[in-house]
Symmetry: C2
Subunit: 164 residues, 2 copies
Amino acid sequence: MIVKTDPKLDLVLERVIDVPRELVWECWTKAEHIPHWFVPRPWQVVEGELDVRPGGKFFTVFQSPEGQKFPNHGCYLEVTPHQRLIWTDTLHEGYRPSGKGFLPEDMPLTAILTFTPEGKGTRYNATCLHKSEEGRKKHEAMGFFEGWGTCIDQLVEYSKTMRR
Amino acid sequence: MIVKTDPKLDLVLERVIDVPRELVWECWTKAEHIPHWFVPRPWQVVEGELDVRPGGKFFTVFQSPEGQKFPNHGCYLEVTPHQRLIWTDTLHEGYRPSGKGFLPEDMPLTAILTFTPEGKGTRYNATCLHKSEEGRKKHEAMGFFEGWGTCIDQLVEYSKTMRR
């Protein structure tokens, strides 16, 4: 992995959670789990298609509490089972350039999820790379920390219902 | 490789050239060779930095006949030695989203170079993926076929000076 983070451009959320990283990995990589944690409730994920390999599709549809649907196209870049997942919304399936992503057009992102064992749990690191300081600030103002933090809480809660 | 081409969105240039694919690969992946063939003369490449691995930097500076310099940032996505090279200008080094690329902002591209042995030579396939039909048409109108074709001619000519 060749990733250089830059505090001016990037947002990093790191937490130690009481979930084995194999389950964290499952939550991130199996479509059946995504609706249970991936967007802060009362938003919902109403569709998901995950082809977890470099160049593969990472597609989800979010639904607002008012019922409006938001399709999101992404592409996996690096997949290191249980350890690290890198995807971007600057590309669609098969590395095709995207025009817009999960966020508005001027805030394209690459997300790097790193899962490191810590005791019986996992050090969960979510890093979002942006193209500019403006993009980072807008994403932060949109509620990156609250949003991604809530999703981690939901993942922890949901993981208790999974086989261990 | 998960790449789906679409004639409406993509440009494909395929030629059989009398150059062993190992040399074609060298031309594409070693910075010292790039100035000899990578842009149609009288344009020049005056700087090049190639870190040929997924997430690695593909940086070049083109210089127009009038002396104006154009820096180009790209990122490698897949590297299969001698066989296939995939890079995009939608990302910079380390998968950081780019704002603009080799082409104007509305024409981001992913390039897929495939080199297949054919006799003593190589079937050279260059495929450019665009996000939209408009992007493909603009790139074509800018002279994709002439430009990339001339570069192949230059590569063939230059390869004769390389050790075989």
